[in-house]
Symmetry: C2
Subunit: 217 residues, 2 copies
DNA sequence: CTCGACTGTGAAATTTAATTCACAAATCTC
DNA sequence: GAGATTTGTGAATTAAATTTCACAGTCGAG
């Protein structure tokens, strides 16, 4: 389960939050000051920080910028008094994910935490380059055809592919082959035959999956 | 399992082929002439036809063109004597999938049949339009972002999305929303809020799958 | 060696996708 | 209901993807 750090100088609020979030199944740690928070952040690995902006000593904003700088994957949710919502908005501009103003309902808090976690799932999970690359390769019908051909025939040379796809201008095929090669999806052996790499086989599996997925109404 | 029709005037070859392919798990039917073959083709539903070109009466070529015309999904594999390979090549130009010349090795035959089946899987299976549509929608990062936002937030209005994505010109967002709407991936309610359709939720699942798939090394 | 088929490059042209801009109707806010 | 905000359209522009074309080196067969 996700690990949450609660940062607030108010001991009572800390234990309230600990109780609520603990019951919801999160692993909780607490810090009573900005200083203590940063120590914990640098020694352990949190997913979310619940951060009070108004604290004596190092204030929340400083903690926020430090976290953004050194642990950009950690999501920060600001806790703020109703009267100082504006500060929270500033905090969001500096990279906080959301804020919650005191007093708050339990459900409201949990909803925000859940949403931020979901958000993090995407941001941290997808290595954009690969996804981008994959989708670009698959989005062109000629490239898909080439992949399928190479899957079926194991290896083919330029003109074989060109004829099989019934394309007049072979340099058109060259163009797509080059893109696929650059993406590491296909390779070429000494005999000039093109064949699928391991990545390429994955693309085929993906296509099959997509197919069956889309067919399932 | 796939259903294969064997068309050959040579009774011995018919039973040899039946034995080999039957053992390999295919469902087999036989025809001794072109006429008989067409009757069977029009009454039952085959995946593959093994067709001898040289037969008395209606010859294989005629059967081939008839099949191409009325049952374009059926794959035809030509059986030909070694001496008449040229005819087989002509047949392939007319739409046959492959040929095998007598005498042949069992493994050779099975390999060709398997390959042709695999080929058919793709050609018949993927409804290109949906695939096209899906991949186009997912291939743009802004559209992916929008989908993910709508997934997390359930529903959002134009300017909410625009701000959350930190895009200056809202009409840019309008552009992508329109595309997504046309693809049936999102819809809009009376309050102008955009939300994911069932299709849209599928896209999200696909993205998650893609993610984990690509992450798995 | 010479011809024809094969593989490929690079620039130019074309097509398609995406962005920007000027503007306006609808809706909200005070 | 005046002014700001939101939602949207359509044309013009820009950018990106794809196609076409002219050409050239390589390779195998006769």
């Amino acid at each position: 389960m996700k690990k949450i750090l609660i940062v607030d100088d108010d001991a009572e609020l800390r234990s309230t939050l600990t109780e609520i979030l603990g019951e919801a199944g999160y692993r909780i740690d607490k810090a009573a000051s900005g200083r203590e928070a940063l120590d914990k952040i640098h020694s352990a690995d949190f997913d979310i920080i619940l951060l009070d902006l108004m604290m004596p000593g190092m204030n929340g904003m400083e903690v926020l910028s430090e976290v953004r700088k050194t642990r950009p994957r950690i999501k920060v949710i600001i806790i703020t008094a109703f009267a100082t919502v504006n500060n929270a908005v500033d905090a969001i501009k500096k990279g906080a994910s959301d804020y919650i103003s005191k007093p708050f309902k339990i459900e409201e808090l949990l909803a925000i935490v859940r949403r931020v976690i979901e958000e993090a799932r995407f941001e941290n999970g997808i290595r954009k380059l690969d996804l981008e690359n994959t989708l670009n390769s698959l989005s062109n019908p000629i490239r898909r055809d080439i992949l399928q051909l190479l899957h079926i025939r194991h290896e083919m040379r330029l003109m074989e592919i060109t004829r099989k796809l019934d394309i007049e201008d072979h340099t058109k095929v060259v163009f797509h082959l080059k893109l696929l090669k650059e993406s590491g999806i296909i390779k070429q052996n000494k005999e000039k035959s093109y064949f699928l790499t391991k990545e390429g086989e994955k693309m085929i599996e993906l296509l099959k999956f997509l197919d069956s997925y889309l067919s399932a109404h």
